[in-house]
Every structure is written in structure tokens, then in C-alpha cells.
């Protein structure tokens, strides 16, 4: 497994865990279990920890070729997949509140930055999945 795959796998695991915890917290809040709002920062921290782990644990190998043309192409496609996912996410998140709250509802402006944070996470998540899928197509050739 190369460096890009390790980073992507860590991102996918931490994001999935963060997403799962977030969904659990939202469901618990819907049933009035008594979850404080600050608890919602925990899944965000878990999801964000993927980036920190990747930077600190997976350093570049010295002296060997770690990035060739194929890696460049994979990175390019993964970038585009990430941006495409952000596009879909933003469109869904813009129209979903209209369906849930109705045309007469109101949204606090403080929710807007959450749209950007979510877009960032969505980009990294989709990019990581795209990288893993593309490398897995090559079989053992990436080793």
C-alpha cells in the first residue's frame, strides 16, 4: 500500500466514524435524550483527525520515486471526483431545507458556515474514495 492509499484509507475510516457518530447524535437529539450542542463537535473532531493523523504518521519516503505519471493521473481524477461530489452536496443541501422547513420556514444565518465545512469534508471523503478505487483497479502493480 503506498502513501496516498494509506492517507486515503485513514481519511475514509475517520470520516465514516465521524459521520456515524454524527447521525447517532442527531437521532438521539431528535428523541430528546438530552445531548448538549457541544457534543456535536466530537464527530467533527473525529472526522478532522484523519488529516492530522495523515500529516504526522505518513511521511514521504526519501530517495525513491514516490510519484509517477500514473499517480498524477489518479490524483487528477480524484480531484475532479471530489469537486463533483461537492457540487452535488451543495445542491442537495441548498434544496433540502426547502423540502423540510417549507417555503415559509427560516434558517439561522449561523448555519451557513456549516455548509462550507461540510463541503470541505465531502471533498476530502470523495477524493479519498476515488483514490482507493483507482489504485485498487491496478491490483498488486501499485506495490
Amino acid at each position: 500500500m503506498n502513501r496516498a492509499q494509506k492517507i486515503s484509507l485513514t481519511m475514509v475510516i475517520t470520516f465514516s466514524l465521524g459521520l456515524f457518530l454524527g447521525i447517532i447524535l442527531i437521532v438521539m437529539r431528535l428523541f430528546d435524550v438530552g445531548i448538549p450542542k457541544i457534543a456535536f463537535l466530537f464527530p467533527v473532531f473525529i472526522a478532522g483527525s484523519g488529516g492530522i493523523i495523515s500529516i504526522t504518521c505518513f511521511k514521504k519516503d526519501k530517495g525513491t520515486i514516490i510519484f509517477d505519471e500514473r499517480d498524477k493521473l489518479i490524483e487528477k481524477n480524484a480531484n475532479l471526483a471530489g469537486f463533483g461530489a461537492v457540487y452535488l452536496y451543495v445542491i442537495v443541501m441548498s434544496f433540502l431545507p426547502i423540502g423540510i422547513l417549507g417555503e415559509e420556514g427560516t434558517i439561522p444565518v449561523t448555519w451557513c458556515p456549516a455548509l462550507l465545512i461540510g463541503a470541505g469534508f465531502c471533498q476530502a471523503f470523495a477524493q479519498s474514495i476515488a483514490i482507493l478505487i483507482q489504485y485498487s483497479r491496478g491490483g498488486k502493480d501499485n506495490e
Partner: protein, 145 residues
């Protein structure tokens, strides 16, 4: 001027003109209706985006010769990345404007939310077109006849 330069110029002109017309159209509406689609601003934005979507049909491929080579692919990829950066910045800027318009404790109707990705898409197209034109050149100057 090649096909991609023409498409970039077309997209740039359509989006800039569409933005100017939608700002003028918004000025003719009462303040409480400006951020409430569907209105004439939405119609202008949708027409602009449809025109941008039709650019490749309007500027058809040449019957002879290579239309898209590796250099074009590289230029497009770079322009695309710049465009997506513009998309993110456009969204962030719209959110800032929302903050300034309604205040940190304010709220707005959910119908106004689609404006955020619409501005993002507009800025993406502008940045992408400008990036493509910078790389290809703004005119047909220096091209072989």
C-alpha cells in the same frame, strides 16, 4: 482563435452580462422579494446557465483536424481546478454577504439558499474561462493561418 477560446469567451460574456442584468433586475424588485425565487432574477440566471450549457453545441467541432490534444487536456484540467477554487470562494463570499445582510443573529428563508451554489457556479465559469483564455491567449494573435 480555436474552438475552446471561442467557448471560453462566450461563457465569460454570457455570465458577466447575466450577472449585470440580474443585478439590474434585482434593483427593480421590492427589497423583500429580491432573495425570494422564483422571480425575474432567477429567470435571468437560468437563461445564462442554459446558454453556457449550450456553448459546445453552438461552437461545433471542426470537421477536419485534431480538435483536442494533450496540451488542450492540460489547459482544461488547470482551468477546471482554478474554476473549482472559484466555486468555493464564491460560496464563501455569498455566505459572508448573507452574514452582513441579515446580521449574525438573523435568519433567512430557505428559498434563498440556492443562491449560494448559483453564485458559486457563476464564479466557477468566470474563473475557468479566464484561466483558459490566459493559457491559450486572449485573441488569435500569433496563430498560424
Amino acid at each position: 482563435m480555436n474552438r475552446w477560446q471561442k467557448i471560453a469567451w462566450f461563457n465569460l460574456i454570457v455570465i458577466v452580462a447575466g450577472s449585470v442584468i440580474s443585478v439590474v433586475a434585482a434593483g427593480t424588485l421590492p427589497p423583500e422579494e429580491r432573495l425570494m425565487p422564483p422571480n425575474r432574477v432567477t429567470v435571468v440566471i437560468i437563461i445564462s446557465l442554459v446558454l453556457v450549457g449550450m456553448a459546445k453545441t453552438i461552437f461545433r467541432k471542426a470537421d477536419k483536424g485534431v480538435d483536442f490534444d494533450e496540451r488542450d487536456g492540460q489547459i482544461h484540467h488547470r482551468a477546471n481546478l482554478f474554476g473549482w477554487t472559484g466555486f468555493g470562494l464564491g460560496m464563501a463570499a455569498t455566505i459572508m454577504v448573507c452574514y452582513l445582510a441579515v446580521g449574525p443573529m438573523g435568519s433567512f428563508p430557505p428559498l434563498a439558499l440556492p443562491i449560494i451554489p448559483l453564485v458559486g457556479v457563476g464564479l466557477k465559469i468566470i474563473v475557468e474561462s479566464v484561466a483558459a483564455l490566459i493559457q491559450y491567449g486572449w485573441s488569435s494573435e500569433g496563430e498560424k493561418p
